[in-house]
Amino acid sequence: MAGMVPDQTPSAAGDGYRRIVGPLLLPTWVVIGIFLVLPVALMAVYSVLTKEFRGGVDWQFSLAAYDQFFLNRGLFGDEPPTLEWTYITIFWRSIWQAAMATALCLAIGFPTAWFIATRPANTRGIWLFLITIPYWVNLLIRTVSLKFLIRDNGPLNEALMGAGLIDGPLPLVNTNLAVQLGLFYSYLPFMVLPVYAAVERYNFAYSEAAADLYASRWVTLREIVLPIVKPGIVAGCLLVFIPSLGAFLAPDLLGGAKTFMIGSLIDEQFKGSLGNWPFGAAVSMILMTLVMIALLFYARSTAKGGAA
């Protein structure tokens, strides 16, 4: 899509433009350097160092962390290596949990964003404001509150039992669903806001034109609305999926041993003397690489779609 828009850069005055803007970009480069390049570089370096037993690292090159992630050499490390499934399973579970949380956010967030974007312009701000209110409360407290809501003798189960819909309490805490709910609750605004921005810009004359050309409401949504607001949906999905993938609060508080996720795995590596910094760094590197590969694939597929 971006390729269609004419380039607004004043190319005729290119050199002068660059001379002025160059120094002005310096703060940006400093911020990117300190907050992006440096931490990633540190992580990459730490992931190939040797583990120090009291936490921390020895400055000695070692691929032990990656070896531990991918290969199983038996209890004493002397057997022929086979593929290690423990961490791959955790990765797979994390991807699944994050995907489910993203799907939940989309299912609730899209109608919400649509609702807000179709209110009169002067009331939209109020609706957006209401959406953000719960997020003034600390994430930890919100997650704990959710646990109280869905536990066996919490209000949700009490209400369902009181209404006679269920006989005994639904076991919600310590399940995948609880973790998904926690992630959903944590990141819902990250779905609502970009989708809202896209829907707000959507020109409803397109929907009228589609209806005029014999498209039903459902077909209009699928063929016209969704493709046009897709950038907002994709942005929302990324903003929910990526932090969900590495989240550790929701899985720690709402899940159990069976719902262990990457975030918790990494978190553990940096806690006390049981930790393993190079391994934590290596897991982070692998996670980041996966996300980047997925994003690259996505970018390539949309670039092709946009040209057609």
Binding site: Y206, L213, S216
Partner: protein
Amino acid sequence: MSDAIDIRRVVKRYGTFTALHGVSLTIRDNEFFTLLGPSGCGKTTLLRMIAGFEDVTQGEILLFGQNIAGLEPDRRPVNTVFQNYALFPHMSVLDNVAFGLKMKGMAAETRRARAGKMLEMVHLSAFADRLPAQLSGGQQQRVALARALAPEPRVLLLDEPLSALDLKLRQAMRVELKQLQEDTGITFIFVTHDQEEALTMSDRIAVMSAGHVQQIGSAREIYEAPVNRFVADFIGETNLLEVDIVSVAAGTARVTLPGGHPLTCPSATDSLGKHALSIRPERLSLVAEGGDLDVTVERVVYLGTDLQLLTRLQGGMEMHVRIQNSARVTVPKVGDRVGLRIEEGAARLLAD
């Protein structure tokens, strides 16, 4: 000729605001019909009601005899050319044109072929694979036209489709639109606030103002026999004179002009008293003596083909006169006192 659309006492209210006050009109099949009026007169609301985008508060709309009030837009055999075209930005020009055919369930090959034909008709075959944003305004307008015509609607609705184009293109498109309407035989309902557009293309025009239809008629009828002040003033240029009716019978009135001369003229009213007399500037001519009105020339404006004279009656009323620029004309000078002769039957008494 059958009626394509029959609008019966249609009322549209938005809360306490009434956009249409019981509008009735019939549009014939194969007709180029124009809804003309200033912005806010209700013309677009009426068009959107025919398309199905607005509910009818009261009254009914019949499409070829069938009441369509409850039908969703996608179930009406009418298509619309939108004011800003509303071309789907993510689809190629060809896919845009083929969209209505796809929705009607036409097979991919057939609809591509037909959409291609439509693009040929609007001279855009070379642009089939482009996105709408890569076309100029005039080209987008043609795509919108092709898209709306592709499903062969029985009625085509056009909502100020030329307003976004520059003057030259607009003038060229007027001729093309009329030609297209005649070639396809589809009923066109055209909404515009531009009286020149309406006059050049339409078989019939409904002049609207403040939610009422003021007059329906051919371009000539509307221009030469306006029923009221609004129509006379909105269509073209006119001189409105307050006159006393001496007698009126069978559509003809005898009036006394300012200055005392009597005049017999067609009348849209049959009540006595003071009424407005409409006289088009080009229906006045200069005479040395025996004129109907005596005026003083205040300004002479050279317009190339014409000369426009701004003159003033003794009572203070301004009179515009338009005469052809020719070698035989003796151009009066500012300050000259001249007589104006009203062409036989050209002055018309209005209803209000």
